[in-house]
């Protein structure tokens, strides 16, 4: 990584799925220590953007580049991107029957340890590690013995995502509508966790529809995405304006 390069740099990114072009020359630069919010109407390409960053195989990158810490990650598999520090909190975390949350979390943790040639931890050592992280999101240890997301409420699923983010200590976290479906209490808990986790070495991308989340997590920039590109960038004030006026006035 070159010393002053941004954490994430997206250049003229064009992406399609099933021959439909979704992202059309998207540009975005994110530095360490910054929180960026991406807002925009349904179908504007926000979720596609998050999945492409994580390397979802269903999408084809037609053109452009994604640089993470100065080098292109387009050729990297999803798991390698994860090891490098890219984390995606899913909008709809999927249920995995038959696999306990504890096993899943430990395997994820150890996969990263292994990637960096660090010793893998045994189940007992892991309990100490995970218990501390559980506090971040106010989760009971009982969650560990349940199957991954199976029978979890909407709020529990989202908390589980944040727990994983904290555990993997990712440098770039993309939170795809992490606030949707949360009641006020859960929103506060999750926001608290995220704020505690954030520091000057990390960056966060918040994809959201609502200004509400941004009351708890202060973004440095707010971007409006429409039709596969960013059409406006502003400060936290922009989000308030959008809340009042909607997206129509931005249309060219």
């Amino acid at each position: 990584m070159t010393l002053n390069s941004p954490l994430l740099e997206i250049k003229d990114l064009q992406v399609s799925i099933d021959n439909n072009e979704i992202l059309k020359k998207l540009n975005l630069t994110i530095n360490k220590g910054e929180i960026h919010a991406i807002m925009g109407p349904n179908g504007s390409g926000k979720s596609t953007f998050s999945k492409v960053l994580a390397g979802h195989p269903a999408y084809s990158v037609l053109n452009g580049d994604i640089l993470f810490k100065g080098s292109s990650i387009l050729e990297l598999d999803p798991e390698e991107r994860s090891h490098l520090g890219i984390f995606l909190a899913f909008q709809y975390p999927i249920e995995i029957p038959g696999v306990s949350n504890e096993d899943f979390l430990r395997l994820a943790y150890n996969s990263k340890q292994k990637f960096y040639n660090k010793p893998e931890v045994d189940p007992i050592e892991f309990l100490t590690i995970i218990n501390e992280k559980l506090n971040f999101v106010n989760m009971s240890p009982l969650f560990l013995s349940r199957n991954v997301n199976e029978g979890f409420s909407g709020g529990e699923k989202k908390r589980n995502e944040i727990l994983q983010m904290v555990l993997l200590d990712s440098e770039l976290s993309i939170l795809d509508e992490t606030d949707s479906g949360l009641d006020i209490d859960a929103l506060k808990i999750i926001s608290n966790g995220i704020n505690k986790f954030m520091n000057s070495n990390k960056s966060i991308i918040l994809i959201t529809h609502y200004q509400r989340l941004l009351d708890y997590i202060k973004p440095d920039y707010v971007h409006v995405m429409q039709d596969g590109k960013i059409i406006k960038t502003g400060s936290a004030e922009l989000a308030k304006e959008l809340e009042n006026k909607g997206y129509e006035w931005l249309k060219v």
Partner: protein, 486 residues
């Protein structure tokens, strides 16, 4: 231009192509065979080669007559070209078939074959706590720990030996659970069976070792028709394991087995199978046709028979290990994992026939289908009017991998009295791209992800397997599925 989707796909396809069946080698050895084809003379010749008593020849001839009148069952959910029964070798044995006094006399080539399969028959390296009968094509070549077992009065030998050593037991029990004319394949087996295992556990004896038979089909043209008979006398207990492999050939081999278990009062038999016959290649060429009739008779009160099977091989599987719960308070169990990949087809399940009062049965079936395979559970729970207070619990779960595989469940339930309690649960789930992506995003590689999901799905069954089998089964499933997800 970079296409992520293609990249991942290509990687998986490459893996699929490189995947090998590690038991696919064949052994070249001098053989004593009966020319291919099947008629009354073939049956007589088999009996003659094995120097069998007259009653057994009559048993065979009766079966052959019956078989000629029957036709292949058409109800299974299986599609395959007609089997040409005249194009099969019905007897193939390694030469030098004089009675062996010890293992040193076994052809080293054969010992090596089993060594390569991970089954050590030589004295120094025997598996602790497991006695093994090794069956190669049509005959049993060695049985280990026989002397040790005989101290307990336990008989563990090839069925051919037992025919001569214990004719009374054979006469009494052979065909008593699976009658000659039970079905097309049992009739065929009864006519031409060549070897298999025989176990006799005397009264009040708990078998100190797990008994195990390892079946190997070697010859390209030969069918394997094995016959196993296990008798557990009053208050006895035995654990029996069965493993199977075959070389990799382009043509299909036929395997039609009959297994009969008899549990007398208070006796318990636990029968576990890990079936890994060659399953054909990734375009469906070759593989073993596996038609098996397995049935246990809980004749004494409080007796128990438990079937556990992990079915991963064969291009065609047709198999329904069943329990006849005749005695009062008897128990039947069926735990199954059936995995199909590529073009494999499996139609498997169980029958629980409740006749005794308060008889109980439990069925847990897990089907995993990947590739373009077909996986069918077929089961019958039948409670007669005499079986007052009978209970059954059935659970059938299917797991689909990819978009081209197929899973079916056909449970039949027939109840003839009102004091019966029956429960049936079923579920279908799928390992989808999104689940895999979730693992990958968290840094967990594809193999680990599939392994974790499969072993989670099968956990209930694997805990029923003997320890040394459970680890093997776990590994086997992952190996079999390599490259099928993506």
């Amino acid at each position: 231009m970079v296409n992520q989707s293609n990249k991942v796909l290509n990687k998986n396809i490459t893996k699929l192509v490189n995947q090998t069946y590690q038991y696919g080698f064949s052994t070249s050895i001098e053989k004593d065979i009966i020319e291919k084809g099947l008629n009354e003379n073939t049956v007589k010749l088999i009996s003659q080669k094995k120097k069998e008593p007259k009653f057994l020849l009559e048993f065979r001839l009766k079966a052959f007559k019956k078989w000629k009148q029957m036709s292949e069952p058409e109800w299974p959910y299986l599609k395959f070209p007609q089997i040409n029964f005249q194009d099969i070798i019905y007897y193939s044995a390694p030469k030098a078939q004089k009675k062996l006094k010890n293992l040193d006399e076994v052809d080293p080539e054969l010992l090596q074959t089993f060594e390569k399969l991970g089954i050590s028959l030589t004295e120094q390296k025997r598996l602790a706590n497991v006695a093994i009968d090794a069956v190669f094509d049509s005959v049993s070549i060695a049985t280990t720990f026989q002397d040790e077992l005989s101290k307990y009065g336990i008989v563990f030998s090839s069925i051919s030996e037992a025919v001569n050593d214990y004719p009374e037991l054979i006469k009494k029990y052979l065909g008593s659970v699976v009658p000659i004319g039970d079905n097309y394949f049992s009739a065929l087996n009864s006519a031409v069976f060549t070897d298999g295992s025989f176990c006799y556990i005397p009264q009040d004896t708990i078998c100190p070792l797990d008994l195990s038979t390892y079946f190997r089909i070697n010859d390209q043209k030969s069918g394997q028709f094995e016959r196993t008979l296990i008798i557990a006398e009053k208050n006895s207990q035995v654990n029996y394991l069965e493993g199977c492999t075959a070389p990799q050939y382009d043509t299909n081999q036929l395997h039609a087995a009959v297994v009969e278990l008899i549990a007398l009062e208070n006796a318990s038999i636990k029968y576990s199978t890990v079936q890994n016959w060659y399953s054909g290649n990734e375009v469906g060429k070759g593989g073993v046709y596996n038609f098996v009739t397995k049935r246990g008779l809980c004749v004494g009160s409080n007796s128990k028979i438990s079937w556990t099977q992990v079915e991963t091989g064969s291009s065609i599987t047709w198999k329904y290990p069943s329990c006849l719960l005749v005695g009062d308070n008897t128990q039947g169990e069926f735990y199954s994992v059936a995995l199909t990949n590529n073009y494999q087809q499996a139609d498997t399940g169980t029958k629980m026939i409740h006749i005794g009062k308060n008889s109980r049965s439990r069925i847990i079936s897990k089907g995993i289908s990947a590739g373009k395979s077909k996986n069918t559970y077929r089961g019958l729970v039948s409670v007669t009017n005499k079986a007052l207070g009978a209970r059954n619990y059935s659970q059938c779960d299917s797991l689909l991998i990819g978009n081209l595989s197929n899973a079916n469940t056909f449970p039949f339930i027939s109840v003839q009295n009102s004091t019966t309690k029956i429960e049936h649960e079923a579920s279908t789930s799928k390992i989808g791209e999104e689940q895999i992506f979730y693992f990958l995003q968290r840094g967990i590689c594809l193999e680990k992800a599939v392994e974790l999901m499969i072993s989670g799905f099968c956990r209930e069954i694997f805990t029923k397997l003997p320890l040394e089998f459970a680890a093997e089964a776990d590994k086997l499933l992952t190996l079999k599925l390599e490259g099928s997800v993506g």
